[in-house]
Amino acid sequence: MIGNTPFAVCMVLVLLGLWALLFRRNLIKIVIGIKLIENGVNLYLVATGYVRGGIVPIYTYAPPDATMVLPTPQALTLTSIVIGLATTALMLAFVVVIHRHKKTLDGCKVTELSG
């Protein structure tokens, strides 16, 4: 019924994130842009594993002839979320340190290293 709509929505999220990365100067918003891309990709991963009418993939609780959704993409997504948490925390920590030194979050003013 819904066909490829979830995949299209994921791609829209990724493109929105890229938009933020390209055109937003605020460092926090750049991090948010990265999170948007990440969520788009994670949703895409989960969507690939969806089986219509499928149930939670736990063998012990499943009725004998049940269709189950794929467990692998969910495991992958979980891993990816954990990695995303680490990268986001690290990036935000760097933003805090940059703000402490420069008293600004404007990306245009954080260009000490150039040329």
Binding site: L18, L21, L22, F23, R24, R25, L27, I30, G107, C108, V110, T111, E112, L113, S114, G115
Partner: protein
Amino acid sequence: MTLLTGHGFWNPLLWLAAAAGVTVLALVVWARGRRDYTRGTDGELPFLSGEKMEGAHVGGGHLYWGFVEGLRPYVERLRLFHTGLVNDYVGWLVVILAVVFLIVLVGG
């Protein structure tokens, strides 16, 4: 000892032997030079653009000045790309991705 490199070969020991030969040749030529030059005159001072001062140092910024100046018009144009703005860094990633997609999807 020889490394084949497609068209040719490379042997560092042969090269070292050749280098030793050239060095011996250079020493021979040097030994045949004049011995009657005057010691202790200006002729012995290193030539630093007419600079007479003892202990003058040509810093890193001044060495090969003409060479660097000649390249500067090109380099300055490249330098403009290195804005240090993180948005531009990502922008280049998008540009390269577009080029790669063009080649992978259309060119292939």
